[in-house]
Symmetry: C2
Subunit: 268 residues, 2 copies
């Protein structure tokens, strides 16, 4: 093998990513390359790619470079660019600190969805990110149930159910938005399964967990600033709907491997 491109592999509640450090801003990350890297049989396999690039070297983020020195260039597995990813940015922040590129504590990170605030300590502990304000809309009908509509930058419908494990295969009547099925496990704990728009059921969804907690808080009358445990198939998240209206997502961020992609394979 000839060393081509350096990579890391990580995940947050089993939403998984290939990180591509590009500290010189020299990487031409084509949609074709993203698709090849994310291919789960012929490539490394991931839900998406996180290119790690200094904001001053990224046209999308140069204006934010003073406040947020690093830009999260997030691409979906199909090669398209995305604004934000709540699980991805936590893995991204873990890398910046683990690699010594940022000190632990409070980080401001540039994304296509604006500057995001992230908090983490050094080591393997949880990473939290301010996902911004939630906007609650008119209820929407999902399978005959009045679901709570929550806009977290992307649209969600939250459906309370008696048991998420009893649901079987998720087949919501609406597939033009993300649908969260939520089971109450206690006064500040829920279980969630999510059917993502354009994807199907996934192991976890950061904005979905936020929407689920907003809808649950409204339904049961929980006060703001309550930390909810959210059990998803891929692990456990903690979500807090703050008094200022912002939703904070907190959970694990794991880096499990690093290495290099073969130069011949990249060039093929």
């Amino acid at each position: 093998m000839r060393a081509g491109l350096r990579f890391l592999k990580g995940h947050g509640t089993e939403n998984d990513f290939v990180l591509l450090p590009d500290l010189d801003g020299q990487l031409d990350l084509s949609p074709e390359l993203v698709r090849r890297v994310c291919d789960r049989r012929a490539g490394l396999g991931a839900d998406g790619v996180l290119r790690v690039v200094p904001s001053r070297l990224a046209p999308e983020a140069a204006r934010d470079a003073d406040e947020a020195p690093f830009f999260m260039d997030y691409r979906n597995a199909d090669g398209s660019a995305a604004e934000m990813c709540g699980n991805g940015i936590r893995v991204y922040a873990r890398y910046l600190v683990a690699a010594g590129l940022c000190p632990p504590g409070h980080l401001r990170l540039a994304t296509r969805g604006g500057i995001k605030e992230v908090d983490l300590e050094d080591g393997p502990g949880p990473v939290s990110v301010d996902m911004g304000p939630a906007a609650v809309g008119d209820p929407v009908d999902i399978d005959g149930v009045a679901a709570t509509f929550v806009d977290m930058g992307n649209p969600h419908a939250v459906v309370p159910v008696g048991s998420v494990s009893a649901l079987g295969q998720l087949r919501p009547a609406r597939t033009d938005l993300n649908v969260e099925y939520v089971e109450d496990l206690g006064p500040t704990a829920i279980a969630m399964r999510v059917h993502e728009r354009g994807v199907g059921e996934t192991r976890s969804c950061g904005t979905g967990a936020c929407a689920a907690v907003v809808a649950t808080s409204l339904r049961i009358g929980a006060p703001r600033d309550t930390a909810f445990d959210v059990a998803v198939p891929g692990g456990k998240l903690v979500v807090t709907w703050r008094a200022d209206g912002h939703v904070v997502l907190c959970g694990p961020a794991v880096l499990l491997a690093e290495g290099v992609l073969d130069a011949s394979w990249l060039g093929a």
Copy 2:
């Protein structure tokens, strides 16, 4: 990250593998570790693990060490040990040559299924492996069709169809053997889709491609030593049923990445 275990990722017609070089024979490859590594969300993701160990250091292969200096310790993604894997052994041989552990040309490799003969040149060309003799049995009924039964060490039923692309989702009535659906593309070319026992449809199956060519040769009266092109969803294989009764499988073997697994992740 702290460097833990070294790995490579490769595939043969999109049957994908994590290789774990263990030249000192010191790796305790537990079923739990195999499952974690092969997990496609929380791990690296693969159909199986290929531990690369000198035969003299492996109890299963020590008796073969003079003839076959390396042992392919193959594990399925569920952690169980397997005898052989036609796509896996080609990727394994590619690694031995690429890493300078064996010279290119003719290799004899120890497996739980005995010593296997492999041929490859240096560089990215195809790798061929003698998959041993085929045994043809009594026809079996698959969905009302008399399918050819072929034993390649594991059981196969081969069903000729007009078009593999027109089949939709494969749901063979028999799931206690591997079922290959085969379409004739020309006098020495077939397309194949395979439903593997205990797995479902896969992108490729080495023994399945061999069984498909044996059954097709008998059905159309092709002479022995005819090289058949076999198009599978994951790529292209060439299979030859030799005059001596052995079946030779030839096709690509790709190494696309190498790196290290994080020590903390391994220890968790």
